[in-house]
């Protein structure tokens, strides 16, 4: 299933400048793995070594924070949009 993923400015170096990329997956975890395959290095920027989301990065499914859904296990459906939204503070990420 194709999912649209919005990439924030600090991560666009990894996506060759793209602000939006397509990914495959039935849940958020699968999408992250798929992104990592196509854009190596992206996963470690948003996940800890144990695979959990970093505490200064949020992933939104449409306009909802996945932490308040089923987190990385949140299921996806066609035409869903995912946004990676890191904390920003004047140039730091």
């Amino acid at each position: 299933m194709a999912i649209k993923v919005r990439i924030p400015t600090p991560l666009r170096k990894i996506t060759n400048g793209s602000d939006e990329v397509a990914a495959e997956g039935c849940n958020i975890s699968e999408v992250i793995e798929n992104l990592e395959t196509n854009y190596p290095g992206l996963k470690e920027r948003i996940c800890e070594a144990d695979g959990k989301l970093r505490r200064f990065v949020n992933i939104y499914l449409n306009d909802e924070d996945i932490r308040f859904k089923k987190n990385l296990e949140t299921e996806l459906k066609e035409n869903d949009e995912i946004s990676i939204i890191p904390a920003i503070a004047g140039g730091k990420f």
Binding site: F56, I88, G90, G91, F93
Partner: protein
Amino acid sequence: MDFTEEQIERYSRHIILPEVGGRGQAKLLKSKVFVLGAGGLGSPSLLYLAAAGVGTIGIADGDCVDMSNLQRQVIHNTDTVGKPKVHSAAATINKLNPDVNVVPFHGRLTVDNIREIIRDYDVVLDGSDNFPTRFLMNDAAFFENKPLVSGSMFRFDGQVSIFHPAKGYPCYRCLYPEPPPKGLVPSCQEAGVLGALAGVIGVLQAVETVKQVLGIGESLAGHLMIFDALKMTFRKVKVRKDPECALCGENPTITELKQYEEQACEFKAATCES
């Protein structure tokens, strides 16, 4: 309160708005707003808050005006390069609107002084440029029960929200529990920011602050506004109150202010002429 003739003229475009009126303008003139940082975000916020007639404006900043600031920090000017930012900002505000009482603090906010400094204000506005200060401000606003109008930016992106746990809304830690650790941020040379973006985000903060003082409209509390200047899009997403928040959750583990270590590149020696 009684307005002078000059005040009736100065604030006439507010007073004729039914949502503001004389009563709202009087509220603004009696209000006290604290602005952390007289930089990219603080500059436009301060100008509009002063123009709106916010009666008391506190400003804290430990830096001095640098030539490289003037690309976006529009409250300062070429003549004030080298001067403390709080004094440069105060001078501009005094020229703009003599009704405003400016309370400048030239120094760093720390665990030891921040709560007392913000205590007398109705609303606090965060225009800081680093994570340690951002978390310190959030925690202090929580302990002092203040609404926090938060803005931040990076290159072409900006974020705005209001955090107000005292009214049942989330705090910054509900959104982002911890700052990034050292080593995970790009070097300062990689950063940069579109000057006019600071205007967009800072002015949005001023709009939310004025609404908060007047008690009108729907506030951004419980939401995060995300602005992408390159695509010219605004997106509003939900921010939930986290019951497990270490600060404002049901079983808090943060019970006093904590100071995070600064990133090495955030440190700038304040070189002031006077």
